[in-house]
Subunit: 365 residues, 4 copies
């Protein structure tokens, strides 16, 4: 990981700001021969896109991805692109670049945002819409993740919201199909109406709320990952923690593991009828000693409430004046909702990366 | 991060197994002119050392560190070592290398351990005492961390246990001095007796339990850290998650941030009498947009219960035989306790690394 | 260095092919506050551009650079851009993308080109104009180098051709001003006419020739660079060797050092009137033990003759058919000529990178 | 590459100084299941060892390697070690650590050495025997190289001196068996006597001389290597240039390529009887576009004359006093001789690294 690059062999570098020319990424180290369509990537981007319900910002970001390098059209289908093994550059142009009036935020530090820290660090700051610290950067990750998903045969990475603010779900009602049906990526159909009303209240009270997202990856080959600073769970945690507004990450039963006993936490093993080792539970979240067990990899992350709220908060300006900050305009009352496909992308990238690393070091697949 | 190296500029590579010749680390990129004594490092190692109370394993590991390179004796004091800017190699030799009888664990996969995944990954495994996956590896991190602490002027990194199993603390009684007085690194004097009895019960019932550790770093210069994949919180999370048995990491209020509202979560700002920006709270844990605010950096991590327990658990052998595994011998009923200095070390290393990175890119200190 | 990225802190990632959408780079880790104009970058790009004399290819590449991120307009001058410390993405679009007829090269391996090796490696190859292995990729390096030059105060990096094929120069006539006056970057005015006639002959005989380029950097701060795998000369050699068609690299007197004696090769030292150490010669090329002495850094690299020639050469096709390959169209009879600004860029990037590294580790400037 | 680490997946970190506790390396990312004996490593170390002829320094370095981690004894042969996939730590202890009198070099900068630059960079310097800049560091590379050789099936890496000072060889007499028979690694039996007399003269005149070494690797799988900053030739050049006293590196015909024409330089191709592509010459040195062709990889590097000579050279002290420096004691009149196994090791490491990288990205072997 360097400043704007992550990954060891499957390496993703992102660039861009929310109000400049656009954002993009360069995916280096992708295997040759990976087939995909623009529609594949667009489908993931569309799930992240704002403006899809009353609970996400109404800004219209027309997130059309353009692939600039690293692919050829498939000989058998011009719609299908095939990676050549060279860097895949992708861009998502900012369509609305007209000069807005940012005078109200140019010099004032919005609480919960990175305005102050960018100024302290760099002595200069792109104040337009958050600049580099804007969540818009995450669209580039989603595009990279769409490729990563295709690198590992049989891999499936899905995400769902498991709580919004104080509202959780009933896990016995978990239904992946439901996740695609509602605006919250909620796996519990009965919780949806409750969440809807709850978020309406939050928004009307000029407030916001956070949430917790769970990512589940199946088809993760046993053996990928590595000790001791190349742990698969470590790289997943690192990737998820790099998402804007994320304040916590768990693998498997996570913090719950600290509360239960060793007897209860043990994932016992038996031989399956297929002659393979079978785990009788998955408290570990599919990873032991940093290496995948072959069980589903399970990670959760906590997103803080949207910092841009219409309730005034006390702050200061760059010149030291004390002010009150109110963020006007429509913002997601829960930015966590749109973080679901972003979390999927980061987990997919980490798994693809470790798949290549493992193949490199051991020659096993 | 590669397999056994972490850090960007302040880079730590560790090596070694629990029952081979020893363990060690190479610290590369350390600034020249850092002064320290062997006693400085030993003090941190001693806090991690087993056998210090009835609640940690009674094995006697005489963790004497030897510095093999990268230093000169100070001209004004032969006890003081001064770094020269070249790699600092440190070793901790295994003193008890006599050949034990490992036949009971050689072929059987202990639940919760990395036995199975190492075999799947590498096709070969050092079964003696856990080999590379042994917690003994963490002694090397503690040695590296002792240097890292000295890299950043004014930095102080301290840790404490905030819960053991189901038992927490009363934060209003937090006392850093108390942390050094009890065997649990517990900051709440009144909780100590309760924890003591609780762990006795756990051990007598042939069971184990996990815990949560909180690390607090003060004196972290505002501005260190970086967007977007070189975030300070991300690198801290990555480092903590790389510690054996860690299943979750939080920054600031962490998962609690997902439950409260944006109004409550905002860290408001005012100007201090010293003309510096003052935050009125620290929900963010000292980091915004991946960059330090100058407030204390606060991180917590969850350690799962000790997997080595005397209660039989079902498992299989490498050849597919179904067996029951019981771990004999004394093991910590709560491995989390000894993780406190390890967590401190990982946070200190991340901060030292970002201090150098920030100085490199911006020329600011 | 990964596949398509170089540099430690000043990191450059390039992407793109000769006949796709375009080429570009992402420069990460650039310090904030660096001021430049598009004209600054364009001036360097123009020196690399083909079609400038009869001795370089007549293809018209309109290498206009576009800066996509990482900058703000200077408040005092809208023509001046200021880096913000975030990644600077630059693109140079391919203006002539019409579909040509590549059927004559699609399946046949051109001797001296990477056609065969790309096919062996990836099993798929972008055959259009050389794809990723096209020298067009180097324009992105030149753009990055234009920024690198501005990172180190007082740094000046200049290059010149010191031989073309069998024709050398008289070093006593070295004149940097002359380098800018002729089409060969030749520092010896009297050699120019001779080289001109020589290259005419080469081209008329349907042949090509190589050359040697010398890069001289002044204003390199003493102390930058590092032992033992972060040597400044090593990173310069690595960067120069990564340029297409380069087969050799020298530092200082290079291979000549292997021929002379230790007495003659010693760079003796005396104290200058300014109280600074003065070297009485510079056989070392400004670097000792991988660290800059403060003298001019001198590097040379050898470029092989253009592989695309109109004289038939024997080869094979992807399907194993034996063929003769003739490269039609205008190609540089000496690709080395245009490598001068590319070599400058790679040296400038290495120096900027080590400047930041040194500042990071030692805090010295 | 960081300061003291090289390699992408097969990563080598070295540490140590010439007169401290010892030197060593940590090899990370080595595949599991590689079998070797201590004697294998020792054989390579012994070829680098000083004191083997009157032309190398008479210091007795008893370079016994100790393997500290990352291996198990083979079940079928206790003499054979098997890598486990975890870091392999190796140490070579300094046996003669008695305190010498270094007062004559402590403060004076020896011309050609890194004394001055270390002081400028770090402000502190281990003056004992050159400290970190001592050629003794290269023993650790040789140990790592001995492992690297075993990573790629069928790989053979050999080196020879092709010139000493002004004395070359007759390539028509090249005999690899002869290389092992003489003290110069000279492949031309008739040149040996001439070199012997020449070096005697050099030594008697209190002088020294450099040399050129050629490394030839056969069995390099076609397809390893990568564009454009992960080129195999680039990484070989980087590795060779990192060796002490190396001032130039060539691949294939190297600088000669700049002198000949494209017609002559073309490596034409035909189909072999085995249905494989055959190159009719190897000017390219086995690498095209950074990727191996399957032909022998050929690299050469120039070593400057030994800087430690008994002829006085002018210099200065750390405090600015002008002095004459004479290096007493026996030093190699040509340090290049002992660089042969070091060059082999660096080339072997680069090839092993790219073998793993290629397998990781493409899944091909």
């Amino acid at each position: 990981m360097s400043f704007n690059t992550f990954g060891h062999l499957f390496r993703v570098t992102t660039w861009g700001e929310s109000h400049g020319r656009g954002i993009g990424c360069v995916v280096d180290g992708c295997p040759p021969g990976i087939r995909f369509t623009l529609a594949d990537i667009q489908a993931d981007l569309d799930r992240r896109k704002p403006g899809q319900s009353k609970h996400t910002t109404q800004r219209q970001e027309d997130d059309r991805v353009e692939v600039l390098s690293g692919v050829l059209e498939a000989e058998d289908d011009p719609e299908t692109l095939v990676t050549t093994g060279t860097p895949i550059s992708m861009a998502i142009w900012n369509t609305d670049q007209r000069s807005k009036d940012y005078s109200d935020i140019k010099d004032r530090y919005r609480p919960g945002h990175a305005d102050y820290t960018y100024d302290v660090k760099y002595g200069i700051r792109d104040y337009r819409g958050g600049g580099r610290s804007s969540a818009r950067e995450t669209a580039a990750r989603v595009a990279a993740g769409a490729l990563a998903r295709r690198v590992v045969p049989g891999l499936d990475v899905r995400g769902a919201m498991v709580s919004i603010g104080t509202k959780g779900i009933d896990r016995t009602r978990w239904d992946w199909a439901e996740v695609r049906r509602n605006a919250f990526f909620c796996p519990d159909a009965e919780a949806v109406a409750q969440w809807d009303a709850y978020l309406d209240d939050i928004r009307k009270s000029l407030n916001s709320v956070g949430g917790v997202i769970e990512i589940v990856a199946t088809g993760v080959p046993a053996g990928i990952g590595a000790p001791v600073y190349g742990k698969l769970d470590q790289d997943i945690a690192s990737g998820l923690m790099s998402i804007n507004a994320v304040k916590g990450v768990e693998i498997g039963n996570g913090f719950e593991a600290a509360r239960i006993t060793g007897v209860d936490n043990a994932d016992e093993m038996r031989m399956g009828n297929d002659g393979q080792v079978q785990f009788l539970s998955n408290h570990a979240g599919g990873i032991l000693g940093g290496i995948a067990t072959g069980q589903p990899v399970v990670a959760r992350f906590a997103v803080k409430p949207t910092s841009s709220i219409m309730t005034p908060r006390r702050s200061v300006t760059a010149s030291g004046e004390e002010v009150e900050v109110v963020t006007r305009g429509r913002h997601d009352p829960c930015v966590g909702i749109r973080a679901v496909p972003i979390g999927e992308a980061m987990v997919a990238c980490a798994i693809a990366d470790h798949y290549l690393l493992h193949r490199g070091q051991t020659g096993r697949v």
